[in-house]
Symmetry: D3
Subunit: 313 residues, 6 copies
């Protein structure tokens, strides 16, 4: 692949493969239809215009398809825009995979799987262990392809698993520093807390909210599923309710979407670990883009703060 | 029964049957144990002291038992207090029922049952109708004995059913005034919205919050149960999710305990009807206690307002 | 009239009568003046440009005048825009009434008048009845032509009366379900609560806020007028103050513009009915525009929620 | 008069005249009725008990009457309490005036009257001047006897006038520093802004809220009265509305009871001056009671802050 | 100087000297670079485009330099825009000073200096006097050239000193009306409260926030400096801490940036005076731009209110 | 020492040594003076009364002195109360140390010192290392004796150091999980963030807020000291400002007392670590007091939540 679409400059030519993230039809002032497309590759995104399109074009150049594009980079209202001169669908012959155009978790899937397997293997409470294994099996594929969110943090392929693994590592340290914490409860809460997202979001690649996601939300979806899994596995006892409570309360307070606040120690810690890992992910990725002595862009979910990158070492 | 314990005056004698609402042991300054009891009958409550108790007394005079009491009414820190001189457990021979000491819904149970049966019979959507019938059957007894809350509104035997029936009547009027409303959705939402309270609260007579009630809450409990009922009945389709959404959102906003706000018309109306019926119940009961030209006590859940009872007609 | 200006498509021609809602002068990059106009008819609105205008045009094409227009529909920044080729003022010969270009209440004025007359006739309290008759007479014309608001809900000709009549119907049902409510107080509160809008807003057709509306507001204006009416009619007694209180408190709390919260039962109910009818109006009109299975646009005054239209029946 | 009831110590005897601020009947544990009285004189207040009272006592020892009392000072729950041994109503022969038992404004009434007369005399706008004169005449007596509030600030006889005069002085300085301010508007706003309190409060000596005060409030009452005064005096024009706006908005924002925020410069300044004078009055009176190097009690309406009195000079 | 760049009309020619406030490079759709400039003079600002620039132009036409410009006024997206035809840097021969292009305090610097000198001379507390003299000397130049803020109020050359002097005058009046106030504390608080801005802001002419300003803020910077000054001058005692407290608390509450609220009388008054002077400055400048009978633009820091300019006199 | 004063039961006798935490004089209804004392030992606290005291008693039995007490345990208003029969000051012969009556950090001081020494030794940035060493030396004694707060968390002897050491351990784990974090910045922020408490609080044993603590607060005090230390040590550069920023921002947001929010990655992490360690300390200590299956008392600074201790293992 080339240098990446996010790195081309105004005035340059571009030729290469890109993924269509979205495509919307408009009608120009001359009455001719055109497409407003957002292309992406692993480096980022660019806006584009495809002028005077045919009915065919409209049906072919749709979201999640990969295309080969030639064009030049213009400036439009202060932003780079790709003016498409030639475009065609990628073919099998091109040997191109849509996944290659998505940002990916920085850790290989296998490594993440292994880490989680180990954690689950070490669990001492058999009820919790069985429930976790049930879900790891059920969502085996989704867990390692879905993002953890549509934007803000871990919003890349495998982001959900990456978020879970980082939190497990953090959780492990905390159970060592604060030995009163029950590791099984904490780890199982971490693994399950966001899995509901695989039903809340429509797809791993260009996710939008499903109807179920909008009307019920990932928290309620997952609390439900834990109950059904327990029924199916014939498990009864406090563990089931405690797991449901941890999922239910992990946003920390009612205003943030948890109808019950954490009321066991491990639930409070789950909430705090979630916060830390999400914040670190956002800060790190924003700071990676700036030089020492500069401020990042404002980060909306971090109370719209900009962060300074020190010069000192 | 007599005039009612809430209506005796300081200086008077009292003799009659009372229900023990709560009983707590203390040790007096002379080192002797005593019980601080709250007695109740249908008219209300009174504080009492039972001095120099035996081990036996402690075990016998416990919450939810009915006793025959003789004593006089004193004043203690500005409140009437019953000074017990004689006390014994009621016996079968007394022909006394604990329920007779609870405030009751002002409508007979049969009338409420009949009204609900009629509403359910008229439902056109078979999926909704089957789910509602499932729950009416499952919680047949609890629905007509539990209060709708531990305090504030409809906090009396059968209060839950009374609240539901009043809301159904209101809902019926609204579907006539606003014919776009789907009656089946609205009625089923009304019937199910608070049933989770029969698991959130410990008992109909002197309810406290159960562990499940504290960690999950009646909303989550019921959303879960609807899913399980649908599974059991083999029902699929939008209706199940819409019913869950209505239960989930009926508190109106996140701060009030609904992780998702109402997103269908009937859910919004359910929330509003719930509000009106709860507020009317609180205002009416407070205003019943004052004379024209007076203000009620401040009502905490109504933003701590006092209400004026007009003199004009 | 034609299909309605809100229903034309980009690329089509338009010819017909339209009302000028607003017109603002600009100067083009070639130095020539032009007008940016918003036209409307009963179906909705469209933006338009009238290029290279004369002094005369500027004086003639002003808000609230009706014109005959020919032009074609273009797209500008994603929105349809009418490019005017010919335009002239409507003449008497055209037989056109400005009112025909406004959205109207869905119930005929006569029916609304009749309903209100009946309600007032049935009042038992003569003082209240006289005050209400005084205002019905005084604002006879405005009540049935003004909108209830400049936007959000009932923002159409006769919207004020439509809002009042819907609320009266709701109020009637509530007095039946909760017989402690005083119907005279409730109905009179409903009728008067928003009449101050006829002085707060500048005109029924393209209303803006008057100076009095901005500095005092419709609530204060109307509380004042009730006092003056009572003085004029020689009425004294609690009723006057209670009516003033209901108007004053109908927004429910200080943050929403009511310096005193409702402190009588009927004032609280007035506030709740107002809420319900406004919300139903907003939801119904938004849901009318979408198909089953879709969400409406976000509705700002309903906490920016979008509403889902179920597919099930 | 003696040293003042606020200055006696536990263990001392007291003999002298006191005003009854409030008196409430109770029944003792021996079944005998008694009165819980709050006595006051200019130095402050004391709680008292009058045991084993007769029907007569109950009718005679009522709020706002002056009595001659003998008794000793005890301590009850950490506070001084006057244990009454002898008590009788003051008679004409005692030459006692109830006003002598109230705290008073630190400036003589005549001086305040004179200052206000001068300010009004200098007004240039005849409409404003006539309206102000109308109210000064109408409430001549109340203005100089009522407090400005029931507690917190200027809560003494003549406190209302004292507050107005302080604010007028402050206003005068501000019109000199910021010459764009219109003195007539500002001064008239200052004089009228709180006069509604004479109808909101029941009496100058032991004020409680009237029904009108609770349901409408001093702001609405006064906005109404300005309209009626203008009608009576045949005055029309912007001045009337501006005066109403200043009264309406003087609490600054909706949450604080002003349905409209200040929208003219003089209204904003009126709000700020009101704030300063109320705060200075509260701080000064609290700091007067402590020594250098100490903190005052927490002052609730000043965000519950305690203020430090510096040692340095 | 000419009529001022803020007063030219679309279609007119402009020739004269202007200050470059900001200049940003862009690339046109023809691939050629251009500058987007904001010019300013004492009357206000105008946007401008300088097309097809050279490398030289880019380096020469930078912020804070003065240029001689010829061009015509166009309209672009509803705003006037200066289309530059000729431009050159001002030379020594032109006799132009950048300061002449900034708005200035309405009082001459000498007069402000004199007023402050007098106030300081009259101080009775030698410790306070020495600290104030230390800072007046240290920031002699900055105090009379910096604005008091980057926008909103006193955002002009010398605005900081102007704000201080107005507040001192107000403070003087208050110490006369409320003689309990300690003038030395109040005046010294006024003089120091905002001086930290000379380190928080980058320059008097086109100020932006410095790194220190962003990470520490003017309040913390100044509290630090007072401590260091006291150390340097060998001053100990309560005065130092009280001065620090006044600076620290002058924003009034935590949400507004003061980690401690005012806890001495003079600190509270400092906060209130600051509020009044800032608000008067904003209101006066907005009202100066409109005619009687009109409303000002909405003023964001005044809760986004628009103010009405009365017609009456 | 005995079983501990917190563990005696009503009706028992007590004899042993106790520390006087506070002592306040009152006058009984018989006119005799008495002392209300709070005693404490390492197990907790108890209220007590010492009747009919002499002048001597008053002067001798003062806070922070240790006494030998004999008495019996009564119940007063639902709480245990020690009725003192004999009391005398502890003498040298008793071999008693006031520190023995305080709760202590669960880790020995030497271990904490060693851990911190190691962390500081490993720092790579010499400026930061020198500043930290300066403060460790300056507050060597206070750091290991002061509590971290007067109540809520780590409110015991050495609590400040214990809090710092726990946070350092947490910080160490985080720098490993998130290698972008600068360890020197993070560790130095942790060590300094609360040291200002040694000046904010009056003493390690029965701390109250100092005047400086009230008017400036520990954050401002410490930001000042860092500046002075840097001056003294001749250190300049970004490090000083970054350390000040970390201290300043460690409460996270303005409402919580930080005038600037965290704007570097390490400051955000410092805030989060502080939160976690404080919360863990509060939860652990509350849960230690209850049995599995029970809820703790409500913990006010944890949003008044009660926490459940699971039964499962």
């Amino acid at each position: 692949m080339t240098q990446g679409i996010a790195n081309v400059s105004v005035g340059e030519q571009f030729e290469g493969f890109l993924l269509i993230k979205s495509a919307e039809k408009g009608v120009a002032s001359n009455g001719k239809p055109f497409l407003t497309i957002i292309f992406r590759d692993r480096s980022g995104e660019i806006d584009a215009k495809l002028w005077e399109i045919t009915k065919d074009d409209e049906e072919v150049f749709t979201p999640e398809s990969v295309v080969h594009v030639q064009g030049d980079i213009r400036q439009f209202r202060g932003k780079a825009q790709l003016n498409v001169r030639q475009i065609r669908l990628a073919t099998a012959a091109d040997g191109i995979h849509p996944e290659d155009f998505m940002e990916k978790a920085p850790i290989p899937v296998e490594e993440m799987q292994e880490y989680m397997t180990k954690i689950i293997f070490d669990m001492r409470n058999p009820n919790i262990q069985r429930i976790i294994r049930y879900f790891i099996k059920k969502y085996e594929h989704e867990l390692f392809t879905y993002p953890a969110a549509t934007k803000n943090h871990h919003e890349y392929a495998g982001g959900l698993a990456h978020h879970v693994v980082s939190m497990l590592k953090l959780g492990k340290q905390l159970t060592e520093l604060y030995p009163d914490l029950n590791p099984d409860l904490l780890y199982s809460g971490i693994i399950l807390h966001d899995i509901g997202k695989v039903k809340e979001l429509s797809s791993p690649m260009s996710p939008s909210y499903t109807l179920e996601g909008k009307l019920l939300g990932h928290i309620t979806i997952m609390v439900d599923e834990v109950q059904q899994a327990a029924n199916e596995l014939g498990i009864e006892g406090e563990e089931v309710m405690l797991l449901q409570h941890m999922i239910l309360s992990h946003h920390g307070k009612a205003e943030w979407g948890s109808p019950k606040p954490p009321q066991i120690r491990e639930a409070e810690v789950l909430h705090l670990i979630d916060l830390i890992d999400a914040k670190m992910n956002m800060m790190n990725r924003a700071l990676d883009k700036v030089k020492p002595g500069e401020f990042t862009e404002r980060i909306y979910p971090l109370e719209n703060r900009a962060f300074y990158k020190p010069v000192m070492d």
